[in-house]
Symmetry: C2
Subunit: 152 residues, 2 copies
DNA sequence: TGTAATTTAATCGTGTGCGATTTAAATTAA
DNA sequence: TTAATTTAAATCGCACACGATTAAATTACA
């Protein structure tokens, strides 16, 4: 590798990983004022979205969809339960598993949350097509990274 | 909004923000084994990259480049200092400011770190051009989100 | 000049995220 | 049937990340 390439490799702005990292934080910041009104953090919001789409999921199922470990989800779900939005209960069919269900309040919150995605899309300044393309590219990237993870 | 659109808005996979969030974690996971060998976490690595590119920066300067608050950076920099990679010292010219400088060990680590970016690019499975395009798109997105943040 | 406003780090509290470990339950093997 | 293995959550320790606040230094400006 020549010296110019080495310098390139030290330019933060040229790191794809950094752009992803920074964009992720930027999303977090833009969500914050909207989600504060709902009494949710951003990861909590994602869990709620998942439950609004499919109620009564196991911790494991939520973890698979969100790519999170139980060590992250368990405390988060306990907070949602403490705030009265979900109910956690061992599955009588398989006592290892914990089912997460929306409470009445949790279901009701969905309406208040319905305007959020449009606000966010608006804030990105992207048209739907560009957003979709970027979304696809990032999903592919994530899939590829997971594959690559096994080799390192 | 019709019912179909509402359903769309509840599909996690269609959330651009979620793809960014998930890709960010995926990067973190892929970096972990590589950075463990250097004794660095991922955000610590980014700070070191910034210092390798430009030594002797203020906390403020690092924060601006990485879009992080002092409440995040101060403890992180203290850990880097405790590990002997940097030295923190008040600027005699302006006692409000703290200068962060690479130690000898911090400079030496650069060589060991030089192979990392190539490993990562390899793991993404992307050719350089695609990676560059995605990088540009994400930078634009971040810029736009920051602009949008003021309106919400 | 002297006070007010601004700037810079640091501190504190809350909430992720993850690896390693533990516990209990269920499944498989012997 | 028991024993070994696997699976699902939970727990613990560590390291971000941020908002709110504080303290100290500098700058603005009346």
């Amino acid at each position: 590798m020549d010296d110019a390439s080495k310098e390139d490799f030290l330019d933060l702005e040229k790191f794809l990983c950094f752009s992803v990292y920074a964009a992720s934080h930027a999303f977090n910041r833009i969500y914050k004022p909207l989600l504060d009104r709902l009494g949710l953090t951003y990861p909590q919001y994602l869990v709620m979205v998942s439950l609004w789409q499919e109620d009564d999921q196991s911790v494991r199922s939520i973890g698979q969809k969100m790519f999170l470990e139980s060590s992250t989800l368990t405390p988060l779900l306990k907070r949602l339960e403490a705030n009265g939005l979900v109910v956690r209960k061992r599955d009588p069919e398989d006592e290892r598993s914990v089912r997460v269900r929306l409470s009445v309040e949790g279901k009701a919150l969905r309406e208040k949350a319905e305007e959020v995605p449009a606000c966010i899309l608006d804030a990105t300044g992207l048209d739907i097509e560009t957003a979709k393309r970027l979304n696809r590219d990032l999903q592919e990237l994530r899939t590829q990274l997971e594959r690559g993870a096994k080799k390192l």
